[in-house]
């Protein structure tokens, strides 16, 4: 079990918090919270096995948020003295006062038990910052060179991002949390260039980013040696594959692709702040409005979606959120019907009666001290069928279709209706068997039609925790990491486009 980083614990978090919370109290704030956050990020990129760039950055900052006379106020800075922490509290209160005349309903937060002095550390074995950079780069180079040596591989792009995130939180009600998360994102992509045909093709490793440490690169949670050994054959077949004939197909979608469709069409659509219009001018709203809670048929009865901030190795997993709420797992879609939303404390109070809840489900997170805590996505995951079929069994049920593997391009509209996704691999299915790869495939649908066409979900043996490190939301923009677990699943009659024809070729 890893321990909290000593250099973070050495920062004067408690004296800064005391100064800020005391000053906010003196100024009459009914709620105040203080965060000291540190993000360490290191990255390395290699092109054709040669080091392109490597860097190590660290951001440390402090933030004070208050509710004063029913109005939010926020301020953040980087100077770590009690005087500046108190001054930030003054700035936050001053901001709240200025904003008072522009606010309509007073801010009230749903209650949450006090957690007096708690700590939490994510599940990993080796802190990647404890591994020398030369050793990390050597592993990336070794894997890159192996790929590059294979027949049909002309170029290899490799990159590795590692994050050590520390959050200290203290509020005026007595909760104090100190937490630490580690996450990593390895990416390997092989490129085939056919100069004669004037064409290039690429294929990426299916390894998702994960809430794991350096052990992820050495065999725990993913087998890079085996996967990358198989990649060149798949790439060569992909490069020579025929283009898809546009039309309607049955799809078996692998977990490595489906996680992103869940993220876009369910994860964002069930953020309550979006459904209420707070993001209308930027990311947009949601078709899944709160008046349809309990009645909206989101998909087929096979659709069961859970929001979970406790899943081991999940990128959105944490012990307490940035409002001091202990995290949990909660249902969002049950037997195909919308039953819940992702919440923060203010929305849990304002809409608790409608939602049938008396506390937040712990979805308020800030990406750094420089930003306010927004409602951010839990690990929103599709439950497998406990006795469900394997990928092969799902494929055996399809007469004419496509097995879609790996994510690539994605886009969805501002109400989360119309989406279009591509992938890494598309295998033709004929009479229940795979019959060679296809290329230039995109599948396009409207969210509820798509999930309504889901005939079956696979069993736990098909379940993978996918995810992304780059989920953007809000203005000013914030970036969050989030995982989505899902099994493979079978969809009937989905619209499939040929992307070369779409480009007029």
């Amino acid at each position: 079990m890893p321990e909290l980083d000593a250099t973070f614990l050495a920062l004067p978090a408690r004296s800064l918090a005391a100064a800020a919370l005391h000053r906010a109290d003196e100024l009459g704030a009914e709620h105040a919270d203080f965060r000291l956050e540190r993000q360490r990020v290191a990255h390395a990129t290699l092109r054709d096995g040669k080091l392109q760039s490597a860097g190590d950055s660290e951001d440390v900052g402090l933030a004070v948020r208050v509710v004063h006379d029913g109005t939010w106020g926020f301020a953040s800075g980087y100077v770590r003295t009690p005087e500046t922490a108190a001054a930030l509290a003054e700035q936050a209160v001053a901001t709240a006062k200025i904003s008072r005349v522009l606010s309509s309903e007073p801010v009230v937060l749903a209650p949450e038990p006090v957690y007096a002095d708690v700590t939490w550390v994510s599940a990993y074995e080796v802190n990647p910052f404890d591994v020398p950079e030369t050793e990390r780069i050597a592993r990336l180079r070794e894997l890159s060179e192996r790929l590059l040596a294979a027949d049909g591989v002309d170029h290899v792009d490799a990159s590795f991002t590692q994050v050590l995130e520390n959050k200290f939180y203290a509020d005026s009600h007595g909760t104090t949390t100190t937490q630490q998360r580690v996450r990593v994102e390895p990416r390997f992509e092989a490129v085939n260039v056919d100069r004669g045909a004037g064409r290039f093709s690429s294929m990426r490793s299916l390894a998702p980013p994960a809430g794991r440490g350096w052990e992820y690169l050495t065999g725990t949670g993913w087998d890079f040696d085996t996967e990358l050994a198989e990649l060149p054959d798949l790439l060569r077949e992909h490069a020579k594959a025929p283009g898809i004939e546009a039309g309607t197909y049955d799809l078996v979608i692998d977990a490595s692709n489906l996680w992103l469709t869940i993220h876009e069409s369910i994860g964002h659509a069930t953020e309550l702040d979006r459904a209420l219009g707070y993001e209308a001018a930027y990311a947009g709203t949601s078709f899944a409005t709160i008046d349809q809670l309990g009645t909206l048929r989101y998909g087929s009865p096979a659709l069961n979606i859970v929001g979970d901030r406790t899943a081991p190795h999940g990128l959105a997993t944490i012990g307490w959120d940035d409002e001091g709420v202990q995290t949990q797992a909660f249902d969002i879609v049950r037997d195909g019907v919308l039953v819940g939303y992702q919440l923060n404390r203010q929305m849990a109070h304002d809409h608790g009666a409608t939602l049938g809840v008396d506390r937040s489900n712990g979805c308020a997170l800030a990406d750094s001290a420089g930003h306010i805590a927004l409602q951010r996505m839990a690990n929103v995951s599709l439950r497998p069928d406990p006795a469900g079929p394997s990928v092969e069994e799902l494929i055996s049920r399809v007469e004419r279709g496509i097995y879609v593997v790996g994510d690539r391009s994605w886009s969805i509209d501002m109400q989360r209706f119309n989406f279009q996704f591509t992938g890494q691999q598309f295998h033709r299915i004929e009479n229940g068997r795979l019959a060679g790869q296809l290329r230039d495939v995109a599948y396009q649908a409207t969210t509820t039609d798509f999930w309504g066409s889901m005939e079956a979900v696979g069993g736990p043996q098909t379940y993978v925790l996918g995810g992304a490190m780059n989920c953007g939301k809000g203005q000013p923009g914030q970036v969050a990491a989030v995982s989505h677990g899902c099994p493979a699943a079978l969809f009937r009659g989905v619209n499939v486009l040929n992307t070369r024809e779409e480009g007029g070729r």
Binding site: Q52, A442, Q444
Partner: protein, 473 residues
């Protein structure tokens, strides 16, 4: 009220002194120090009400340490939030250790030597604060009142950032630049949320933002949308406003990667190891160009690898002077982006990235109003959204229309149409555009977080591919 930054006064933490202290502490053969002193203020609103606001300050110091070896030059790059001058030593040590341990860098090049410029090195860093919005907020409040009375709603975001960058090198080079970046994004809706319009703009200081005029344009568009027409997917005669052209052209800029093109792996790859430089891309003699001194779009005239989108850049090139560059010159692909090391090793003339983008040069510019008047049946767009690359081979992009697609019939707007998902490539659009307006400053909605300094024309595309219908309103 005391100021959080003010509490730090009296310490010798001027950025210039941090640069000098880091250079003095360096044990490397070469060293570049970059201080980014950043402040920002913002206002966000929804339903005619302020929702969030804030004022943030950060200071990051990056140290680039280079070491010469028999087989090449290695580099270490470390960035830290620096709160006190005492933290500089640890930062330099970390960069030196990383650089010493690293293998030779493919992107190595001699550090940039001093050259003449007119920077005011000694001036303190520029700052912004919430008061930059004083006049703007007053006008916005008045607009809230007016819209509330008219049973309409305003949503949006106003942000002003100031980044003072100080660059010092062991060669003696010193550069600094104060970059203001401001933007307004404003969305107007009918109370039932069925009609929606949008406007966005870039501003250096918000003194040039006319809220009343912007709100009037949003109102005019909401009135256009009172008549609703459903249209199927298909190819339409389409007028792309400057913001939408900016969305596409920034994607094109991101693909101007000389190395990827030479390796045969992007849309600008040519035959047999070459690139498409020299090829005519557009029928109209348009030029797609960058110019660090373009009035209103000023950006640093020296290279900073903290800019650059996701293009190939080298830490060794920090400080390299930037000149006006024509990526596409009168319709012909002329330059691609590359590092000094790669250009030198491959004997290819490459250019550094510049943080603005201009598309202009139409010999007979046609205004949007004239394009509408000349259209028998077509679409006038407001803006685009959620644009992603579908096929790097053709730079095919997909995305959505948003906040107002207007039907033009017999030379005038007759109503609003449903939204569409499009599939189109900026390279193909340049080839197929039949008319262009004068370029004017605009804000790409898709890139507004990353790339705000653009001037673009409206373009008329006779056969824009609206691939499927979106039910979003």
């Amino acid at each position: 009220m005391s100021d959080a930054r003010g509490a730090n006064k009296g310490m010798s933490d001027a950025p210039q002194e941090l640069v000098d202290a880091a250079l003095a502490a360096s044990t490397a053969d070469g060293c570049i120090v970059l201080v980014h002193d950043h402040t920002e203020a913002n206002l966000r609103w929804a339903n005619n009400t302020l929702t969030t606001n804030g004022r943030m300050a950060t200071r990051n110091v990056t140290v680039v340490s280079t070491f010469d070896h028999a087989d090449g030059t290695s580099v270490g790059v470390v960035t830290r939030s620096v709160s006190t001058p005492g933290e500089i030593t640890g930062l330099v040590d970390a960069a030196d250790s990383a650089g010493r341990a690293a293998g030779p860098s493919e992107d190595a090049a001699p550090l940039v030597e001093p050259y003449g410029h007119s920077d005011d090195w000694a001036a303190p860093p520029a700052e912004t604060g919430i008061d930059v919005f004083a006049g703007f907020a007053r006008d916005l409040g008045a607009a809230f009142d007016a819209w509330r009375r008219a049973d309409r709603m305003l949503f949006g975001f106003a942000e002003h950032q100031m980044t003072s960058t100080f660059l010092g090198s062991s060669t003696g080079l010193r550069r600094r630049f104060d970059q203001p970046t401001g933007r307004l994004e404003i969305n107007g809706k009918s109370a039932d949320l069925t009609r929606s319009s949008w406007a966005g703009l870039h501003s250096r200081d918000f003194t040039d933002v006319d809220v009343t005029a912007v709100a009037a344009d949003l109102e005019r568009r909401l009135e256009w949308a009172r008549t609703r027409v459903d249209l199927p997917a298909g190819r339409y005669d389409t007028i792309l406003p400057p913001t939408a052209v900016a969305d596409f052209m920034v994607y094109a800029l991101e693909a101007f990667d000389a190395r990827a093109a030479a390796e045969g792996r992007n849309v600008f790859a040519g035959e047999a190891g070459g690139t498409r430089v020299g090829e005519t891309l557009s029928a109209l003699p348009l030029s797609l160009r960058s110019d660090p001194h373009h009035p209103g779009l000023e950006c640093p005239d020296f290279e900073l690898t903290s800019n650059g989108l996701w293009l190939h850049q080298s830490e060794f090139d920090n400080g390299r002077p930037l000149a006006p560059t024509r990526w596409v010159d009168q319709g012909r692909l002329a330059h691609l982006v590359g590092t000094r090391a790669w250009g030198g090793a491959n004997a290819v003339d490459v250019s550094p990235f510049v943080d603005n983008l201009i598309l202009d040069g139409a010999p007979d510019p046609v205004s949007i109003e004239e394009m509408v008047a000349d259209t028998e049946r077509g679409l006038l767009l407001t803006c685009l959204w959620y644009i992603r690359e579908v096929d790097p081979q053709t730079l095919l992009l997909t995305g959505l229309t948003r906040d107002g697609v207007y039907l033009v019939e017999n030379g005038r707007v007759t109503g609003a149409v449903n939204n569409f998902r499009f599939n189109e490539s900026p390279v193909d659009l340049l080839a197929r555009a039949t008319h262009a307006s004068e370029a004017r400053p605009t804000l790409s909605r898709e890139w507004s977080d990353y790339f705000t300094r653009t001037a673009m024309p409206a373009l008329r595309i006779p056969d824009f591919n609206m691939s499927t219908v979106s039910k979003a309103s």
